[in-house]
C-alpha cells in the first residue's frame, strides 16, 4: 500500500499514532502549565501532568498492541516491537519524573520546560523505535537527542553539568552525522528509504558485498554505536553520565538504551538482514569490545554514576549479542534484556539520587552503611546490583539466560563465553557496592580524618553538606566546579517509592518471568525478514 499511496496525502491512522500524540500533546500542555505563576502548578501539577502523559502513552500503546501494520506510507511501524519500545520509554520517563521531584535541575531550568523536553525526547524515542524508514529513523533520533543535550546542561550553576551537555552535543552530533551519511550511502546503494524495500533490494540484488552498501552499513554501525554507547565509541558516556543531573542521567541511561537497541534490531535484523554476513562479525566484535571495556572500566570507579556509565556500556554489549545472532530468539532476548535493564537501572538511580540529596555527592562512600540508615533503599540497590550482575532469582539472571541461549543457538558460543567472562568481572564492582551498603557502619565515613564530614554520617541528617565542604577528596565524586547545588530538605519519598517498586519487580520478574516473556514473544512478528 505504501508505494501506491504516495500520490495523495497519506492516510493517517490517528489511533495508531495516539501514543505519540499523547507525548507531544503532553509536552505542549506541560509547557503552558509551567508558565502559571502558582507554586502548586509548577511544583505539583507539572510533574503530575507529565506522568499522566507518559502513562497515557503507555496505555495507548497497550491498546494498540495487537495491531501489526505500518502508518503514514510505511514511515512508522505499528507493531509489538514499536509498542513495547513505547512502553519501555514510558516507564523510563515516569521513573525520571519521579526522580526529578524536588531535584535541582527542573527548578533551575524551569519546571515546564524541563518536563516538556523530557516528553519531547520520549516522543522522539517513540518515533525512533517505530521508524521503518531511514528518514523517520533520523528524525526520531534527533528528536530524542536534542532535548537530551539541553537536559544534560540544566543544572545551570554547575560546570560539570554544562560541560556534560556540551560534550554530549558534540559527540552526539558526530554520531548523528555519521549515521546520516551511512543512510545516504545505503539509499545510494538500494535506491529506497523504506526498510522493507531496502531488505528486498539487498536480497534481490545480492548487495551483501556491494562496497557502497557496506560503507553505508559501517557508518550506520558507528553512528548507532555512538548513540547506544557501545565501545569503542563510548568515551562520552562516563563524563556525560556523571555531569548530567541524576534524573536526566537515569532517563538517558534507560530511555535512550531502549530506543537505540530497538532501532538496532529493526534496522539490522529487519532492513539489513540480507547483509548479515558483513555486519554480523563486525557487530560481534563491537559487542565483545563493549563487554570487556565496560566491565574493566567500571572496576576503578568511585562515583556511582560513572560506575553505572561503564556498566551500561557493558550491558549494551550484552544486548547487542541478541542483535548479532539475527534470529527470532535473539530479537526476543534483546528486547527482554532491555526492558529488564530499564527496571534494574531505575532502581539504582533512585537510590543514587536519594543518597546524593543526603550527602551531596554520588561517590560510593555516600552509600556507606545505607543498610542501617535506609534499609529499603539498600535492599533495592542490592537487588539492582545483583540483577545487573545476573544473580539467579533476579530478573537479570533470566535476561542473561535468554541472551546466552540466543547466542549459543545462533552459533555464537564464543560470544556467550565473552559475555560470561564480562559478567565475572562485573561481579567485582557490583559486589563492592553491595558490600559498602551492608558492611560499613553508618558512621563509617567518620573514619575519614577531617571532621567536616561529620554531618554526612549522622543517620538522619538531611544532608546540607555540599561536596565542596567535603574535603576528604572523593576525586571523581566531588564536584570541582564548585557550588554543587544540593537541595536542603528535599523529599526523598518519590525515590523510595520508585526504588521499592523497581526492586520488587526485579525479584518478582526473576522468579516468575513467564508473563513478561510471553509479551516479548510477540515482538518477533515485527521483524518478518528473519523468517524469509
Amino acid at each position: 500500500m505504501s508505494t501506491l499511496a504516495v500520490t495523495e496525502a497519506p492516510h493517517i491512522d490517528w489511533a495508531g499514532i495516539s501514543s505519540l500524540i499523547a507525548l507531544f500533546g503532553g509536552a505542549v500542555v506541560v509547557l503552558l502549565v509551567g508558565l502559571l505563576r502558582a507554586r502548586f502548578a509548577r511544583l505539583t501539577l507539572v510533574p503530575v501532568l507529565t506522568i499522566v502523559a507518559f502513562a497515557a502513552s503507555i496505555g495507548l500503546a497497550i491498546w494498540q498492541w495487537d495491531e501489526d501494520t505500518s502508518l503514514m506510507s510505511g514511515a512508522l511501524g505499528l507493531d509489538p516491537l514499536a509498542m513495547i519500545g513505547v512502553v519501555g520509554i514510558g516507564v523510563a520517563g515516569i521513573a525520571a519524573v519521579l526522580l526529578s521531584i524536588g531535584a535541582t535541575a527542573p527548578r533551575e531550568a524551569a519546571h515546564g520546560e524541563y518536563h516538556a523536553m523530557m516528553l519531547v525526547a520520549a516522543a522522539g524515542g517513540a518515533m525512533f523505535v517505530g521508524a521503518e524508514n531511514l528518514i523517520t529513523t533520523f528524525i526520531g533520533l534527533e528528536l530524542l537527542s536534542i532535548p537530551l543535550y539541553v537536559l544534560a546542561a540544566t543544572e545551570l550553576h554547575r560546570r560539570r553539568s554544562l560541560e556534560s551537555g556540551l560534550k554530549y552535543l558534540i559527540v552526539g552530533s558526530v554520531g548523528s552525522a555519521t549515521l546520516l551519511y551511512g543512510f545516504a550511502l545505503i539509499f545510494g546503494a538500494t535506491g529506497s528509504l523504506d526498510y522493507a524495500a531496502i531488505a528486498d533490494q539487498v536480497a534481490a540484488k545480492g548487495l551483501g558485498d556491494d562496497p557502497l552498501m557496506l560503507g553505508g552499513v559501517a557508518m550506520v554501525v558507528v553512528g548507532l554505536a555512538f548513540k547506544s554507547s557501545v565501545a569503542p565509541f563510548h568515551q562520552w558516556t562516563p563524563d556525560v553520565y556523571e555531569g548530567a543531573p541524576t534524573p536526566v542521567t537515569a532517563f538517558m541511561a534507560t530511555a535512550t538504551k531502549v530506543a537505540a537497541l530497538i532501532a538496532f534490531l529493526r534496522l539490522f535484523d529487519g532492513a539489513l538482514i540480507g547483509a548479515s554476513d558483513a555486519w554480523g562479525p563486525a557487530l560481534a566484535a563491537l559487542a565483545s569490545i563493549a563487554i570487556i571495556v565496560g566491565n574493566v572500566g567500571a572496576l576503578g570507579q568511585s562515583s556511582m554514576k560513572r560506575l553505572l556509565a561503564f556498566s551500561s556500556i557493558a550491558q549494551a554489549g550484552y544486548m547487542l549479542v541478541g542483535v548479532v545472532v539475527a534470529t527470532k530468539l535473539g530479537v526476543q532476548a534483546t528486547v527482554f534484556y532491555v526492558l529488564t535493564y530499564v527496571v534494574m537501572t531505575a532502581a539504582a538511580f533512585a537510590v543514587i539520587e536519594a543518597a546524593e540529596r543526603e550527602s551531596g555527592h554520588d561517590g560510593i562512600s555516600a552509600l556507606a552503611g545505607l543498610g542501617r540508615r535506609r534499609p529499603l533503599h539498600a535492599i533495592a540497590l542490592t537487588l539492582s546490583m545483583l540483577g545487573l550482575a545476573g544473580v539467579p532469582a533476579t530478573v537479570g539472571f533470566v535476561a542473561k539466560l535468554r541472551i546466552v541461549q540466543a547466542a549459543v543457538d545462533g552459533d555464537y558460543s564464543w560470544l556467550a563465553i565473552v559475555l560470561v567472562v564480562g559478567s565475572m568481572i562485573s561481579f567485582v564492582y557490583y559486589l563492592r557496592v553491595v558490600a559498602r551498603l551492608w558492611t560499613d557502619e553508618p558512621a563509617g565515613v567518620a573514619v575519614a580524618p577531617q571532621s567536616q564530614a561529620v554531618e554526612v554520617e549522622a543517620p538522619e541528617a538531611v544532608a546540607t553538606t555540599t561536596a565542596v565542604a567535603d574535603p576528604k577528596g572523593l576525586p571523581a565524586a566531588a564536584v570541582p566546579g564548585g557550588g554543587a547545588v544540593v537541595v536542603t530538605g528535599a523529599t526523598i519519598l518519590p525515590m523510595t517509592v520508585l526504588a521499592v517498586v523497581a526492586g520488587a519487580a526485579i525479584v518478582v520478574l526473576g522468579v516468575i518471568p513467564g508473563p513478561l516473556m510471553t509479551v516479548v514473544e510477540d515482538v518477533a512478528r515485527a521483524v518478518p525478514e528473519l523468517f524469509r
Binding site: 539466560l401 546466552v404 556467550a416 560470561v420 559478567s423 558490600a435
Partner: protein, 607 residues
C-alpha cells in the same frame, strides 16, 4: 506424597519470617526452620526406596516456558543422603549460631535470612532435575555467603570484603562457564524441530554431539573443581576460610563443596560420557595432586582453620577420585565419604571454635594446648571427630576411603591409587597434629583453662553421635546410592571401554540390569556416536583403550560376564528381547528397564 517444594522453600520462608520477629528471638526462628527441614528430610530418607524408581517424589511444572526450563525436583539415590547432610548441617549451624554472639547480634535477622536462603539454594541444587534450575541454584547458593562473610566475617571491613569478593568471583568463573555449557548442552542435544529441554535425563538420552563434549565437560568440571576446590584453582580458599565466621564456615565447608561432587555424578558423567572419558585423566590427576598438595599444606600451616581447610581439599580430592574412577563402588564410596566428611567437618570446626575461645581468639596451633587435661569431656569428643577426619578403621570414613581406593584401583591406574593412598597416611598425621597441638602439650601462655560450656559440649556431641551412627551403619548410604551411582557412571563407563565394563560386572553382576542403559543392552545411539570418538587422534581414552571398534569392543566386553551367546546379535542391536541370565528376568528392550526388580535386591525396600 511428600511435596519437595515444601522442603525446598521452608528454610527461606523461615528466614523471611525472621524479619517479622524481634531481633532477640530471631535465632530461634532460624533454628525452628532448620529443624523442621531436618525432620522433613529424615522422613524422606526413611521413605526412600533404594531399588525403587530412579526418581521419587517428583515435582514437575513449567518455570520459563519460553526457554523450555522446567521446575523439576526429585529425590534420587544420589541426592537423598546429601539432602539429609544439608539439613543436618544447617540445623547444626543454626543451633551453633543461637549459642554465639552471632545469634544475639542486633543484625541477627540478616544471619537467619541469608542462612535460610543459602539452605534453600543448596537443597534446590541437590533436588533439581532440570539443568538450568540446577545452575540457578548452584550460582545462587554462593550469594548468601557473600553477605554473611562481608557483614559478620573476621578482620576489618576492607579485608573481609576483599576476601569474600575474591571467593565469589573465583567460584563464579566456573559457575558462569557452566551456565554457557548448560545452555549449550540443552541446545546441542535438541534434535531439529523439537522443543529444547533441559531435563537432565532427557539430555542424556538425546545425547550431546561428540565433538562438543570436550569443552562442555571442561566448563562443568571447572565449575565443580573450583567449588571443591581442587589444586590449582583453590586460590580463594585461604582468604575465604579465614574471613568467614566459624558457624557459617562449618556449613560452607561441610555442605557446599559436596554439591560439586554431586554435580559430577548428576550432570557431567551422565550427559557427557565422551567428554568424561576423554578428560577424566586430567581430573584424576588434579584430584591426586590436590590430595598431596593439600595434605602437605595441612601439615605445615599453624592456622587451625587452614588445617581443616586443606584437609577438606584433600578429602575432596579423594571423593573426586572415587567419582572419576567411573565405577559404581567408587562413586558410592564418594557419596558416603561426602556425608562422612561433612559430619566430621561440623565437629572439627566447632572444636576449633572452642579451642580458639580458650586462647582468646587466636586460632594459631602454637597458642593452644592442654585441653586434654583441663577440659577432658571436650577432648574425648574432639578425639572422636579427629578419628573421623583421619578415617580410622571403624569409622564410616574408613569405609568410604576404602571403597574409593578400591574403585580407583580397579577403575583407573593402580599407580594412581597407590599415590592417593599416601593421602590416607598424611591425613592421620595432620589430623593428629591438630589434636595433639590442641589437646596435649604444655598449656600456652594465653590459654584460659576452662571446660567447654554446656551448650558447646552438647553441640559437639551432635557430630560425634552422627559419626558413631554412620560407623555402625555405613551400608545405608551405600545401599541408597548403589543403583543411582551405577546409572550415573554407566554411559561414561561404556565409552571408556569394554574392559572397564567387564570389571564392573565382575564386581557386581546385578549392575547390568539397572536402567536406563543396561550394560548388557547398549542402545544403538552409543554405537553410532562411538566411531567419531575412535576416529579422533588425541584423547587419553582412545590411547588407553586400543579396541576402538564399537561392535567387537562391546561383544568382547559383554560376553564373558553374561555368559550368554549374544555374540553377533547382542553387539549389533539392542532391539532383541533378552533374558537376563542372573535373574531370569526379561529385559524390555524398548525401555531398557527390567520388568521387575529382582527379589534379591529388595531387601531394604520395606524399611
Amino acid at each position: 506424597m511428600l511435596h519437595l517444594s515444601i522442603l525446598l522453600w521452608l528454610p527461606a520462608l523461615f528466614g523471611l519470617l525472621g524479619l517479622l520477629v524481634p531481633a532477640r528471638h530471631v535465632r530461634w526462628v532460624g533454628v525452628l526452620g532448620a529443624v523442621l527441614a531436618l525432620a522433613f528430610s529424615i522422613v524422606l530418607v526413611l521413605d526412600f526406596e533404594p531399588h525403587g524408581s530412579a526418581f521419587q517424589h517428583v515435582t514437575d511444572t513449567t518455570w520459563i516456558s519460553a526457554l523450555g526450563v522446567r521446575y523439576q525436583l526429585a529425590v534420587t539415590g544420589l541426592n537423598v543422603w546429601l539432602v539429609l547432610l544439608t539439613t543436618v548441617g544447617f540445623a547444626f549451624s543454626s543451633l551453633w549460631i543461637a549459642t554465639t554472639s552471632l545469634g544475639t547480634d542486633p543484625r541477627a535477622k540478616h544471619v537467619i535470612l541469608h542462612l535460610g536462603i543459602a539452605q534453600t539454594a543448596v537443597l534446590g541444587a541437590l533436588l533439581a532435575q532440570d539443568l538450568i534450575l540446577f545452575v540457578a541454584f548452584f550460582d545462587l547458593m554462593l550469594i548468601p555467603f557473600f553477605f554473611l562473610t562481608a557483614q559478620f566475617g573476621n578482620g576489618t571491613n576492607e579485608e573481609r570484603v576483599r576476601a569474600t569478593i575474591k571467593m565469589i568471583v573465583y567460584t563464579l568463573v566456573g559457575s558462569l562457564l557452566m551456565l554457557v555449557a548448560a545452555i549449550a548442552v540443552g541446545v546441542l542435544a535438541t534434535p531439529d524441530g523439537q522443543a529444547v529441554s533441559y531435563n537432565i535425563q532427557e539430555i542424556a538420552q538425546r545425547g550431546v554431539p561428540e565433538g562438543s563434549q570436550g569443552w562442555l565437560f571442561a566448563c562443568f568440571a571447572a565449575a565443580f573443581l573450583v567449588k571443591m576446590p581442587a589444586f590449582p584453582i583453590h586460590g580463594w580458599l585461604a582468604d575465604g576460610y579465614k574471613a568467614m565466621p566459624l558457624p557459617i564456615l562449618a556449613v560452607f565447608s561441610g555442605v557446599l563443596s559436596k554439591v560439586a561432587v554431586y554435580g559430577f555424578l548428576q550432570i557431567a558423567l551422565p550427559i557427557l560420557p565422551q567428554g568424561t572419558a576423554d578428560l577424566r585423566w586430567v581430573v584424576l590427576i588434579l584430584a591426586v595432586l590436590s590430595i598431596l598438595y593439600a595434605s602437605s599444606l595441612a601439615l605445615t600451616t599453624f592456622n587451625a582453620r587452614l588445617v581443616l581447610a586443606y584437609s577438606s581439599v584433600a578429602q575432596l580430592g579423594f571423593i573426586t577420585l572415587g567419582v572419576m574412577s567411573l565405577r559404581p563402588d567408587g562413586a558410592s564410596g564418594a557419596l558416603l565419604q561426602s556425608v562422612n566428611h561433612g559430619v566430621a567437618v561440623f565437629g572439627a570446626f566447632l572444636a576449633v571454635a572452642i579451642l580458639g575461645r580458650r586462647t582468646g581468639g587466636s586460632e594459631d596451633l602454637r597458642d593452644m594446648g592442654g585441653a586434654a587435661t583441663k577440659m577432658p569431656v571436650f577432648a574425648v569428643l574432639f578425639i572422636v571427630v579427629t578419628y573421623a577426619v583421619l578415617a580410622m578403621p571403624g569409622t564410616a570414613n574408613f569405609v568410604g576411603e576404602f571403597l574409593i581406593l578400591r574403585g580407583a584401583w580397579e577403575g583407573t591406574a593402580q599407580g594412581l591409587a597407590i599415590v592417593a593412598s599416601l593421602g590416607v597416611a598424611l591425613a592421620a598425621v595432620y589430623a593428629l597434629r591438630l589434636f595433639i597441638r590442641g589437646s596435649h602439650n604444655r598449656v600456652a601462655a594465653k590459654v584460659e583453662p576452662r571446660e567447654g560450656t554446656r551448650p558447646e559440649l552438647a553441640l559437639m556431641a551432635i557430630p560425634v553421635v552422627l559419626i558413631a551412627a554412620l560407623a555402625f551403619h555405613p551400608q545405608q548410604t551405600v545401599k541408597a546410592a548403589d543403583d543411582a551411582t551405577t546409572r550415573a557412571v554407566q554411559r561414561a563407563a561404556i565409552v571408556v571401554g569394554p574392559d572397564h565394563v567387564r570389571k564392573i560386572l565382575e564386581a557386581d553382576p546385578s549392575a547390568r540390569n539397572i536402567a536406563p542403559e543396561p550394560f548388557a543392552d547398549v542402545p544403538p545411539s552409543a554405537g553410532t556416536v562411538r566411531p567419531i570418538g575412535g576416529a579422533r587422534t588425541t584423547g587419553p581414552a582412545s590411547q588407553s583403550d586400543p579396541a576402538t571398534d564399537p561392535n567387537t569392543g562391546r561383544a568382547v566386553g559383554v560376553d564373558p560376564s553374561t555368559g550368554q551367546a549374544t555374540t553377533p546379535s547382542g553387539g549389533a542391536a539392542g532391539s532383541t528381547v533378552q533374558v537376563d541370565p542372573s535373574t531370569g528376568q526379561t529385559v524390555d528392550p524398548s525401555t531398557g528397564q527390567p520388568v521387575e526388580p529382582p527379589s534379591a535386591q529388595t531387601e531394604g525396600a520395606g524399611r
